[in-house]
């Protein structure tokens, strides 16, 4: 932006070819039209395309609605409702809240402002890993209320850069912590097209957003140099991606996790044992996956699926070495056996 004394351009205003002249505070100001630079994430594209539309729609509001927005904006001034202290007009507030909502997929425009200001908490976490194969925050507590986590991240910068948050883009607008974990690995790769590079410095911002109102919390800012091949202390799980894709896969969906307290298994399993005439469903696990736990037995509830009339069962769940295979099996108890069903529940694990 170029500011010039009024002698040359006093009273001159208007736009021509991307240059805008305006007169403000005794000075004429020439400004060039700004174009977004760098990466545009899907979330940002949504926001940019929505911004003009949202901004224009403010004009269509009634006088009462304008007044309500102005009133709320007065109270918003100086409040940490957008992560920064700022004076806001009613128009500013309208655009901010509605564009934030657009990020989170809230299609409908807020024409009347939220009833009051909402103070959104700051994101907390216990630990953070940044490597070429993992970007993970752990120990992120669930917030009170329906909030989503927005993650912004820069591409790799040189080690000497001390502040690169201005280069960050939204890589994930709507994350929900998975039992304290916020894993940004896939989101980063999807947006920036490559994995983090060891030795380069990355800048990350995290903040909560309330989709219903569009209010956001104060961002936390983190920077770190990417390490090579982190081997984090992983959660003890077995999931569908762990199943060997062989011709004896009768478990279609596997979601098992273990917790301490005389190890407790929690699980949701979907099976389809069509063509396998034994009253059980099983799959095989690679050696590396099977090595995560010793052999065990546990017990879950379950039922056949709707068309087979919800027949209730309990299942003996076993993970063991059977011949050359590492077998994960759910054996039906109760009856009669239907080929398709689900097993679910929480139970301690027992010795075989």
């Amino acid at each position: 932006m170029i500011a010039l004394p009024s002698i040359a351009f006093g009273g001159f205003s208007g736009s021509a070819k991307g240059v805008t002249a305006r007169y403000q505070d005794g000075r004429s100001i020439l400004s060039l039209k700004a174009y977004p630079s760098g990466y545009a994430t899907a979330a940002q594209m949504v926001r940019r395309s929505a911004l003009a539309k949202i901004s224009k729609s403010y004009k269509n509001l009634s006088d009462a609605e304008h007044k309500a927005w102005e009133n709320l904006a007065e109270h918003a001034t100086g409040q940490s409702v957008f992560g920064q202290k700022a004076k806001l007009s009613g128009h500013n507030l309208f655009v901010r809240l509605n564009s934030n909502r657009a990020y989170c997929g809230q299609g409908e425009l807020l024409t009347t402002p939220p009833e009051g200001l909402t103070v959104i908490p700051t994101v907390e976490y216990d630990d953070f890993t940044l490597s070429d194969n993992l970007i993970l925050f752990t120990g992120v507590p669930d917030p009170d209320g329906d909030l989503l986590l927005v993650a912004k991240m820069s591409d790799g910068q040189s080690k000497g850069v001390s502040s690169g948050w201005g280069k960050s883009v939204i890589i994930s607008p709507d994350k929900v912590p998975d039992w304290g974990d916020v894993d940004l690995t896939d989101a980063f790769t999807a947006v920036l097209g490559h994995a983090p590079v060891p030795g380069e410095k990355y800048f990350i911002e995290l903040y909560w957003i309330e989709p219903a109102s569009g209010f956001t919390g104060i961002p936390i800012k983190v920077s770190a140099i990417c390490e090579a091949g982190a081997t984090p202390n992983r959660r003890l799980t077995l999931d569908s991606s762990d199943i060997l894709d062989d011709d004896e896969r009768y478990i279609s969906d596997l979601d098992v996790e273990f917790a301490p307290g005389s190890t407790i298994l929690t699980a949701e399993i979907t099976y389809d044992s069509t063509g396998h005439n034994v009253q059980e469903a099983y799959c095989h696990l690679p050696d590396a996956v099977a090595a995560r736990t010793p052999d065990f037995k546990s017990y879950l509830l379950g039922r056949s699926l709707e068309n087979d009339k919800y027949i209730p069962y309990f299942f003996a769940v076993t993970k063991w070495r059977w011949g050359h295979d590492n077998e994960f099996k759910i054996g039906k108890r109760g009856g009669p056996w239907k080929y398709k069903g689900i097993a679910f529940g929480t139970c301690p694990v027992f010795e075989m």
Binding site: L236, I264, G335
Partner: protein, 363 residues
């Protein structure tokens, strides 16, 4: 025990028996509701509002649903989870909405996720040997695990014989089930009604160390392969109130030293000043002089102590006095309870109820 504060399906106030540990919550409750009421019809899932639970949320667990059909209750298993500290959710299935009276049995363990770096410990199920009236089918699976606070029991039986319909059937354990359980629980009998989905989910009473099965439906179908099953986490009725107000109470059951040795029950009340401890205890046979047990759920305010008690030796035919030293040591977050024979025979098999002076051990 606690009561619900509300729900979103027009149900009644619900009384829960509970055990709320660091890593597991066990809840027992049975309640009925009317499926024709508007609140139920509008509910996407059944939500029960409760006073603050120990967990903020839980992983998915399971419970039982039954609707009252023409020939008896019929239903299936449904998912349940803790949504937040004040809300328990139960999956809503609409396949029985043509039947008015619905019932939920919560006999459920709720667990957590998201842990790292812990030792994988497998439990050893307790010995069980079901004895039953001859009308009930042959047992296929029997798993039994007992803690001082809750019991896990599941078994599957062959389909019940027709003769079971007219009898009061019972199931018990040769080794004895706990006598501090009184619960209404679901028994999936294996009977079915072809006009409705699911199978018979029949109420049974677990009381006085046995499971009573009465009034099995007479007009439902049965057949080969329609086995019955029982699966429940059951909260024990522990009285945690000290006999003397102001004392600190610790009690435990079935502390196991090795295969044959156990303390069947122990109840201790410690008065901090003057330092007096009251103890009730029953121990099985041991050939060791001293045995130490790692124990749990000792109240924080109970200090470590040691004290001598007189008990009755129950291993012989004559009355013999046994001097026993009991010691509770609390160090590094672990609590150890030690019994030692003071005089006389080494075989510690005794009953005691005595009051003694408590001496410090953790000083």
């Amino acid at each position: 025990m606690f009561k619900s504060t509300g729900n979103n399906f027009g149900g009644p106030e619900i009384t829960f028996k509970d055990y709320q540990g660091e890593h597991e919550i066990v809840l027992n409750a049975v309640f009925d509701y009317d499926s024709t009421n508007e609140a139920y019809r509008n509910a996407r899932q059944l939500e029960i509002y409760v006073p603050a639970l120990r967990f903020n949320k839980s992983a998915v667990a399971g419970c039982f649903f039954a609707a009252e059909g023409q020939y008896g209750p019929i239903g299936t298993t449904v998912k349940t989870w803790i949504k937040n500290k004040n809300t328990i959710v139960i999956e809503k299935l609409t396949a029985w909405d043509n039947l008015t009276n619905h019932r939920i049995y919560i006999c459920t363990m709720y667990g957590l996720r998201g842990f790292r770096g812990f030792a994988f410990e497998r439990l050893k199920a307790a010995g069980i040997n079901l004895q039953m009236s001859d009308s009930i089918g042959y047992p296929r699976d029997q798993v039994y695990y007992v803690t001082p606070d809750w019991v896990f029991l599941n078994f599957s039986l062959g389909s019940p014989s027709i003769g079971a319909n007219d009898k009061i059937c019972f199931l018990s354990n040769y080794n004895g089930f706990p006598d501090d359980i009184d619960a209404l629980l679901p028994y999936v009998s294996g009977y079915f009604d072809y006009r409705n989905p699911g199978t018979n989910v029949h109420p049974v009473r677990f009381k006085d160390s046995q499971i009573l099965i009465t009034d099995l439906p007479k007009q439902m179908g049965s057949g080969t392969g329609w086995d019955s099953l029982f699966y429940a986490f059951i909260v024990r009725d522990r009285d945690n109130t000290p006999d003397v107000p102001g004392r600190c109470l610790w009690q435990a059951k079935d502390l196991i030293y090795d295969r044959y040795v156990r303390i069947r029950s122990v109840r201790m009340e410690l008065s901090p000043f003057p330092a007096v401890v009251y103890a009730e205890m029953e121990s099985s046979l041991s050939n060791k002089t001293t045995m130490t047990y790692e124990v749990e759920a000792v109240p924080d305010k109970m200090a470590g102590f040691k004290a001598f008690f007189l008990g009755t030796y129950t291993g012989g035919k004559c009355l013999t006095i046994q001097l026993v030293e009991l010691q509770l040591v609390r160090e590094n977050g672990k609590d150890k309870f030690t019994t030692s024979s003071g005089t006389g025979l080494k075989n510690l098999i005794f009953q005691l109820f005595d009051t003694s002076v408590a001496m410090p051990v953790n000083a």
